[in-house]
Symmetry: C2
Subunit: 288 residues, 2 copies
């Protein structure tokens, strides 16, 4: 299956689950509207695509992977809603639309994020996600760790503390927590659903972290090129935040991207799946 087809499949499957999970007449209207709008404005659905791809390595039913992908999207969307708040990144726009707090007000946006997080755990805990209770608990534990204080929320804390990001090492830690943990879980989840050996879980998890870093470096490089040509901003400075690319510089960043690419190819070779070569190539060379 080519990557574009997989992206489409993941989008359709995950949006079906999201639609169903959000159809709750007991939720006050303004809150539900904010949740639905945020989840619909979802972008490429990179994380669910990865869950479907990794689950497919072990012939896990697509419906199960789609439910996990939907839970991950809920957590991802909640994090974007909160990151955009005035007290955080103070962003007016998200993917070309008004950000949640801009459209629905700050209080509603905070509560929409607060509501998407437990909903993700509700989806994972449901029988439909996997027949085995132990598997569902493993998914819950891993998602909780990935999204909490030693994961995504901790990463956002570091990202808001530029004085703590003073080296390539600390910038890598920040990135691994802020975006890496959830992408790593998106991949690892395929092996959890398959009850695959621990070695596979760890391999896919490691692949996710490398992919997350590569994605971010390519993102920052595209930013720089955009800024340098379109805005004339100094290279690699995204406000006060210090990205990995800002610390490495563009030449080292491109070298680092090639190393990550090689490491990912090496890591995924045992599965003999051309799809992953396509995923790796897409992440490291995409232009938008």
């Amino acid at each position: 299956m080519p990557l574009t087809t997989l992206f489409e499949e993941a989008k359709d499957a995950v949006e079906g689950v999201l639609h169903h999970a959000l159809a709750n007449p007991d939720v006050p209207t303004p809150l539900l509207e904010a949740m639905v709008a945020s989840v619909k404005n979802g972008g490429k659905r990179l994380r669910p695509m990865l869950t479907l791809a990794c689950a497919n390595l072990f012939q896990v039913p697509k419906a199960e992977a789609a439910r996990v992908g939907a839970a991950i999207e809920m957590v991802h969307c909640y994090s974007l809603i909160h990151d955009d708040l005035p007290a955080m990144d103070n962003a007016d726009l998200r993917r070309g639309r008004p950000s949640c707090w801009r459209e629905f007000g700050e209080a509603t946006a905070i509560l929409a994020g607060d509501s998407l997080l437990p909903l993700a755990f509700e989806v994972l805990a449901d029988k439909a996600t996997h027949p085995s209770p132990t598997v569902r608990l493993s998914l819950i534990t891993a998602l909780a760790a990935s999204s909490g204080a030693a994961g995504m929320a901790g990463g956002q804390m570091l990202d808001l503390s530029p004085h703590l990001i003073h080296s390539v090492e600390t910038a890598t830690t920040m990135q691994n927590l802020k975006t890496g943990c959830l992408i790593a879980f998106s991949c690892e989840a395929g092996a959890i659903l398959a009850e695959a050996p621990l070695e596979d879980r760890e391999r896919l998890r490691r692949f996710g972290f490398l992919l997350g870093l590569a994605y971010q470096i390519q993102d920052d490089l595209l930013d720089i090129e955009g800024n340098a040509t379109e805005l004339g901003k100094p290279i690699g400075m995204d406000g006060e935040k210090r990205s990995l690319v800002a610390l490495l510089g563009p030449v080292e960043s491109k070298r680092s991207l090639r190393t990550l690419q090689d490491d990912m190819f090496h890591l995924m070779r045992p599965y003999r799946q051309p799809l992953f070569e396509e995923i790796i190539a897409w992440v490291t060379t995409r232009r938008g």
Copy 2:
């Protein structure tokens, strides 16, 4: 066991679990400090006391009830942190101390709340909470529903929308969502841990909702008396918010409190536990 002893036992047991769960060296310092400070500034630990009392009806080990109580306290503390934010209730103080956002800044407070929520699910998913995976999943599902958009977060949304609270019925719904759901879960959890018949789950859940309403009415009545004598504020108006007591008036509120008291006695009579008579009397007559 007298109620004061149970309160002390619950406090000690739950704080032990909280201390252990928050000892994570991978959490960035400012975030961990905000989480710990909020969880430590914990008040009476009413909810864990209820979990211990209800679990004890079925001889559930105290250590299991304490873990569920700690998870509930995490969710309760997170909700207080977010409720105090400038965009919500804009509260400077919480239990006589600076509120989380006042002490640690708004961004850190948002993230501290965001981190306590998944940690609660991590605690519930752990084997130490109960040997049966199915029981742990039931706890997770019930806590997620109680804290989400059709529970606590939805209730806070209604509480921030005074135009939606125009009758005793809507004010009751708001209160049931905002505080009732989590108190109901605190009670129901005892029956879930015991794998007791559904009838017990439902009875304890219903008891929790009644207790939550009674607690809130008594709280509002104490507020009115305080305001009327100390501040001379108009009776029952807490800012723009319309409480149940504001809609009922003090005379009807006291009558309603007596009805709730009777209903609770009736509901809990089959368990023949004098402790619950003490709990009901305490909630409906306390002076602070």
